[in-house]
């Protein structure tokens, strides 16, 4: 029973993670990953700064949405 529950939780988590990925919820995590890998000397943006920057850049660089 406990094993089944674990499988179920893992499944639900997986679905949530996938959904989050599609929505773009993991953008900050990916940015941090990139920042680390690229080995910049400067500190990365904080989470709040990152999301601000992201939507502010969309202001001048809109993404199309289809019909």
């Amino acid at each position: 029973m406990a094993a089944r529950l674990a499988v179920l939780t893992r499944g639900v988590r997986g679905v949530a993670r996938y959904f989050g990925g599609v929505l773009g919820a993991d953008a900050y995590a990916k940015y941090l990953e990139h920042h680390r890998a690229a080995g910049h000397g400067v500190a990365p943006l904080t989470e709040k700064e990152f999301w601000r920057d992201r939507t502010d850049r969309q202001d001048t660089n809109p993404q199309g949405r289809c019909c």
Binding site: G24, A25, A27, R52, D53, R54, D59, G64, R65, C66
Partner: protein
């Protein structure tokens, strides 16, 4: 085994130029191993594909040949899914092998331009969902419903065959070529490949087409919300909900996208339920019962404000909500259809299939069915999404087949489900809902009499039935609710109530459907206005450089006002059109969308020719020729047809003559003012058709010239300049499709052993 062009190309040096790091495992599956894997037909694999082919064949047989009194909806699911699988497994591989020729040893823009923001390597399955959410919207939900006038079979064939041979090909090619060019937009590619004339024509055409598309999508919303207090309330509530989400994400809990989307979803459901309660109260019905013209003006004002507000406040949060709903709704609809399996009583070919005077949309099956269903079969608008955003996120070149081709197949499936939902309702009800008020008279009695007088086989509706359906879905009236959205909502409510909740839940499901369609459309309207505004700013910027500064407020506001004014004018024209707006404007929407597809395919044709792939040029030429013939014929008929219902100018002349003769009513226009409106509208629509078709012919002609030139250059050995970014070696590996193959799993295991610090080059781009 025959050589692939890839191998032949080795000699000429196009391939094999990318030297990958020898310290790392291979970044691509060895060509021969993949070939061998692909061509090895184990008994299990043969049985699987034989099974798929047989099931698909049987399903098509049931739909197209047997055509009994009724046909079960499950056959639509089997026919489409089996055809998609075969198209994906076989045809898209032909395209990959002979046209795109991806090379996984090359880094994608997401790798060589990686910035952690716009260029980010994204898991292929996540990107598939992301791309699908960007391309699919209200289009595939609306077109097939309107086209159901002709019966189910023409639409079904076009949606399924069209996507395999045309729509998915376009999406895949545009995505691939844009990826090879660092994620350049369709407009930039057109300019590079077709020169200044072709490029400029493509730009103007794109801009005008966006105006038309936004206007007609807005018209669909207005028609769905007119005189519907419930709908107006719940859709109106999406604005404060989105604003709340925006503030929440900006100030309260930045980055908690999942959390805020769930909160937003719960609030949306509350808004739908609340709408039902509010619409019951006298004050609610009083405040929120708005006529179409008022709603149209509201939408225009809203569109302007939404386009100048910062993205974080309204557009970004609503986009999350819309994506969330999109995926949820589509899964739900598919499940419901598979579980409920409604019986379809609509004939394969209706009485209108062989006529050109159908009440829902005028014109003969060829070409008008093929423009009425654009999204879902072949949608030019996708070229704008497939170039630009998605190519910047692709991890490996080979994944574009799954994401581009596969993503479009998925949208086609949505179109099929919308078609099934629409044809699962009573046929008489369908015509009562989708014919303009000028024909139905607008009341249940006149509508029932008119529908029964059409002489359609098996159709006999009563005023009571129309009134009861309206009551069940919580609406004042459902007569002449044109635009497709309400019909789909009734169909969905009809199916969903058998799945969850029974008749008591029908009103909820109806408004749930209206809500998500409105949500998709409003997101498309916002984003479309913004994209068009920037295109206009850049274009004006060529003459007045100040306009190129995107942060220059007066320029931004002026250009937004011009774009909103343009689509707003078309919207108002549609709302007030005495002939019924959808009926006259929807063909223009489809023509515009398909012309954009013809432009995108023209650009692809020129690129493929320049790459020297002449033998398989037909893969691009076939959908291009079809799109060109369909849209040019449709435009021709819209401009030159002498049948007033079809030709804009014929109608214009008829009404002008009636006015000149001093008549005070003519046809469906009951006053002189209405007659003048028809004269004005038909003139505008006619000239728009002329402009579209002329621009598209210019683009297609320049593409053909570029193709011929490429052919000549090839013949006399002149080097052809390609506009791809230089090939850089990749330092990552990822599988190409949904399920990794054995060889891919093996290679992934090898990569898993590589120490993390070696895996991705450090700061190579800074």
């Amino acid at each position: 085994m025959a050589e692939t062009p890839d191998q032949r190309r080795n000699a000429s040096g196009e391939r094999g130029v990318v030297a990958t790091d020898p310290a790392l495992p291979p970044t691509a599956i060895d060509e021969e191993v993949r070939e061998a894997e692909d061509r090895k037909w184990t008994p299990g694999k043969i049985a699987l594909w034989a099974g798929i082919a047989l099931l698909g064949g049987l399903a098509w047989f049931m739909l197209a040949i047997i055509r009994g009194e009724t046909v079960n909806a499950i056959w639509f699911v089997f026919a489409s899914v089996c055809t998609y699988l075969i198209g994906y497994r076989f045809y898209s591989k032909v395209i990959e092998r002979y046209i795109t020729r991806p090379d996984d040893r090359r880094a994608t823009p997401a790798e060589y331009k990686a910035d952690g923001k716009d260029y980010v390597r994204t898991d292929r399955n996540v990107l598939f969902g992301h791309h699908f959410a960007a391309i699919a919207g209200a289009g595939p939900l609306v077109g097939p419903v309107i086209a159901a006038q002709m019966g189910y079979l023409p639409g079904t064939i076009w949606i399924i065959i069209g996507v395999v041979l045309a729509g998915a090909v376009q999406d895949y090619l545009v995505m691939f070529f844009s990826m090879r060019r660092g994620g350049r937009s369709l407009g930039q590619m057109a300019r590079e490949e077709l020169g200044v004339i072709g490029g400029t024509a493509a730009l103007i055409a794109t801009l005008l087409i966006m105006v038309i598309i936004v206007a007609i999508l807005a018209l669909v919303v207005v028609n769905a919300l007119g005189e519907s207090p419930w709908g107006v309330f719940s859709v109106g509530m999406t604005i404060p909900i989105a604003l709340f989400m925006g503030v929440y994400l900006r100030y309260l809990r930045p980055g908690k996208v999942m959390e805020v989307s769930l909160i937003g979803f719960v609030l949306l459901m509350a808004a739908i339920v609340g709408g039902g309660i509010v619409a019951e109260t006298p004050w609610g019905a009083d405040i929120f019962s708005l006529d179409k013209v008022t709603i149209a003006w509201g939408l225009i004002v809203y569109g302007f404000i939404a386009a100048i507000l910062p993205v974080w406040l309204l557009l970004a949060p609503r986009d999350y909500l819309s994506t969330f709903m999109k995926i949820g709704v589509i899964v739900m609809l598919a499940l419901a259809i598979i579980v409920v399996r409604p019986e379809i009583t609509v004939p394969a070919f209706s009485e209108f299939a062989s006529r050109d005077n159908g009440p829902v949309f005028p014109g003969a099956l060829f070409p008008f069915l093929f423009v009425t269903i654009a999204c879902g079969a072949l949608s030019g608008f996708h070229a704008l999404i497939s170039s630009g955003t998605t190519p910047k996120l692709v991890e490996k070149e080979r994944q574009t087949r799954f994401i581009g081709y596969g993503g479009m197949l998925m949208e086609s499936f949505v179109a099929i489900m919308a078609l099934v939902a629409a044809i699962s309702i009573d046929r008489g009800l369908y015509f009562a809902m989708n014919s303009p008020a000028a024909l139905t008279g607008g009341t249940v009695e006149t509508a029932a009499t008119w529908v029964n007088s059409l002489g359609l086989a098996g159709v006999n509706i009563t005023p009571d039935f129309l009134a009861e359906t309206a009551r069940n879905v919580g609406e004042e009236s459902i007569v002449s609710r044109t635009g497709g959205a309400p019909t789909l909502a009734v169909g969905l409510a009809h199916i969903m109530q058998q799945f969850i909740g029974g008749t008591a839940m029908m009103a909820f499901w109806y408004h749930f459907a209206i809500m998500f369609e409105a949500l998709f459309i409003l997101t498309a309207v916002d984003a479309g206005t913004r994209v068009a505004r920037f295109m206009l700013q850049d274009s004006i910027g060529n003459f007045v450089p100040k306009f190129k500064e995107h942060s220059w407020r007066p320029g931004a506001w002026l250009c937004t006002a011009i774009m909103v004014g343009a689509w707003g004018a078309v919207l108002l024209m549609g709302v007030t059109d005495p002939l019924g707006g959808i009926n006259t404007l929807f063909p223009l929407f489809g023509i515009a969308n398909q012309l954009l597809a013809a432009i995108a395919l023209s650009v692809c044709l020129a690129i493929v020719a320049k790459r020297g792939t002449f033998k398989y040029l037909w893969i691009v030429a076939l959908p291009l020729a079809f799109a060109a013939v369909v849209t040019i014929t449709a435009s021709y008929q819209k401009i030159f047809s002498s049948t007033p219902a079809v030709g804009y100018f014929a109608n214009n002349a008829a009404f002008s003559k009636a006015l000149a003769d001093g008549k005070t009513e003519f046809g469906t226009a009951k006053s002189v003012a209405a007659m003048e409106a028809v004269v004005r509208n038909t003139a505008i629509q006619g000239w728009l058709s002329v402009i579209f078709v002329v621009l598209s012919i210019i683009v297609i002609a320049t593409a053909l010239l570029a193709t011929v030139k490429a052919f000549r250059n090839r013949a006399d050995g002149t080097a052809v300049k390609d506009n791809e970014d230089p090939a850089l070696p990749s330092r990552v590996f990822a599988p190409s499709g949904l399920i990794p193959t054995a060889a891919e799993r093996e290679l992934m295991a090898e990569w898993d052993k590589v120490p993390a610090e070696l895996r991705f080059e450090k700061g190579g781009h800074h």
